[in-house]
Symmetry: C2
Subunit: 252 residues, 2 copies
DNA sequence: ACGATACACGCATAAACGTGCAAGAACAGG
DNA sequence: CCTGTTCTTGCACGTTTATGCGTGTATCGT
């Protein structure tokens, strides 16, 4: 039984059963409870599960599905979120896209930070309810069930009435020629509208997205200030982008 | 059974049934009543439920200014929500206000119902993510932390662009002369804007609100089609309203 | 006012936890 | 092929936490 195997098994169990009881898993896999605890501790540190006395639970019922359906590297995602949150100046306004990475940014924002957050994700809005000094502006529109954000003409129109210093955008593809891409046309349009309303746009992209492209373009590189990623800064694609004036922020 | 699981179960039970009887839960989960009591004490300490003799009751998310609208009857709230959900015709559009009662309506909607829900509450929007056939339209605007809904000029303006067959509105005061009232001017304006966009407006009000009035008027009785309440239909205020053409729906 | 029930408190037991440690495997370099 | 290093794993230990029971007290309904 490889360590990585164990990890996968735990995550699988979490997705299937909705909980993990350390004792049971140890008995099932014929390993010590200590190892299970160690694994759970690591997974919890990466934000993949919530550690509780006796075992672990999914981070949040809704997020569990999302995490399952996209085999990302959420380990780096947390670091990306932290690096992105550090870009938010006190007193400034930031536009937060609705993806899972952006959601991590919302949680990474210091609770006492005095700022304005503009978002089209009701989930992010709800997450910021306990940030007393954060002003939240929610962009309305038709709710897209699969990504849990508002999109469509109404949402794009609502975006026209806001502006901010910073826009943090999640994408599914980061490609030197194709630019930034995503898999849904409406989402692409929405992201484009958001980026247009901010002075600076930074892209959040985990390592496995570098060099890939999806069907719908969000932005060309000219409109992007920087890229926040957990990939190796010496990755050829990243060096190419840096040469074209895109600031590369490595999140460790 | 993990401790955290128990906690979730209790909260879930609270949301679904509107109350918790310590003895019953202990029997159901095969644990001692002491454990249930301990859990309820902890949950109450975190403000997640209201401890009462024999069990616990839900507590409204907006606890702060609840001095006015205190002592809710969450038992009846569920019945009100069920009666209100029954008014939603398949294929129709309904405007759902953001209060706790309206939130209960969202949960009471059949998951397979084919309808359009328009709301200014991100919480309701999130709750409807798992209703595959429900189209959700979210009204954007500034997020009001204490009531967790969007309000303000932008939200009112967004409301101008929608229309629906039905509007379900929660209020804090139901008074024969003062009409429908609430404690916040912005919320009152928002509710007014919502009601104006629906052919029929029904009010959700638990028994203790009947006969009371708050500072800001939402609507006069002329603009209201009906009132859904768990109060006794023979209550003098209700009979007076019925005489003025307001349909009284008693929720048991 | 009364019995019945729910409660809080203290205590004992058991389970889960974290840490340090040692045996073993995997690996890199010579 | 050997050796030193690093990492993983399981065990032992003391500590923390959760749970159930008994007791006395408070609260409810009649």
């Amino acid at each position: 039984m490889l360590a990585a195997e164990r990890r996968d098994h735990l995550l699988d169990l979490l997705a299937r059963e909705g909980k993990i009881v350390a004792k049971d898993v140890a008995a099932e896999l014929r390993i010590s409870e200590d190892s299970v605890r160690r694994d759970l501790r690591d997974l919890a540190a990466e934000g993949l599960c919530q550690r509780v006395y006796g075992g672990a639970l999914p981070v949040s019922p809704a997020v569990a599905d999302l995490a399952a359906r996209q085999t990302l590297s959420p380990g780096g995602k947390r670091q990306i979120a932290a690096a992105a949150a550090a870009l938010v100046q006190p007193g400034s306004a930031v536009i937060l896209d609705g993806g899972t990475t952006a959601q991590a940014v919302a949680h990474a924002l210091p609770p006492g930070l005095d700022c304005t957050v503009i978002t089209h994700s009701p989930t992010i809005a709800a997450a910021l309810l306990d940030h007393p000094r954060a002003e939240v502006f929610l962009l309305g529109g038709r709710l897209f069930k699969h990504s849990a954000v508002t999109c469509g003409a109404a949402a794009v129109e609502a975006a026209q009435n806001v502006s901010a210093e910073l826009c943090l955008l999640g994408v599914t593809g980061v490609h030197p020629e194709a630019g930034l891409t995503t898999g849904d046309a409406e989402e692409a349009a929405m992201k484009r509208a958001l980026a247009a309303r901010a002075a600076d746009t930074y892209i959040l992209a985990s390592a496995e997205k570098i060099g890939t492209a999806s069907r719908f373009r969000v932005l060309p590189w000219e409109d992007v200030s920087g890229l926040i990623t957990d990939a190796d800064p010496h990755h050829p694609v990243l060096e190419q982008l840096a040469a074209r004036g895109v600031e590369i922020l490595a999140a460790q």
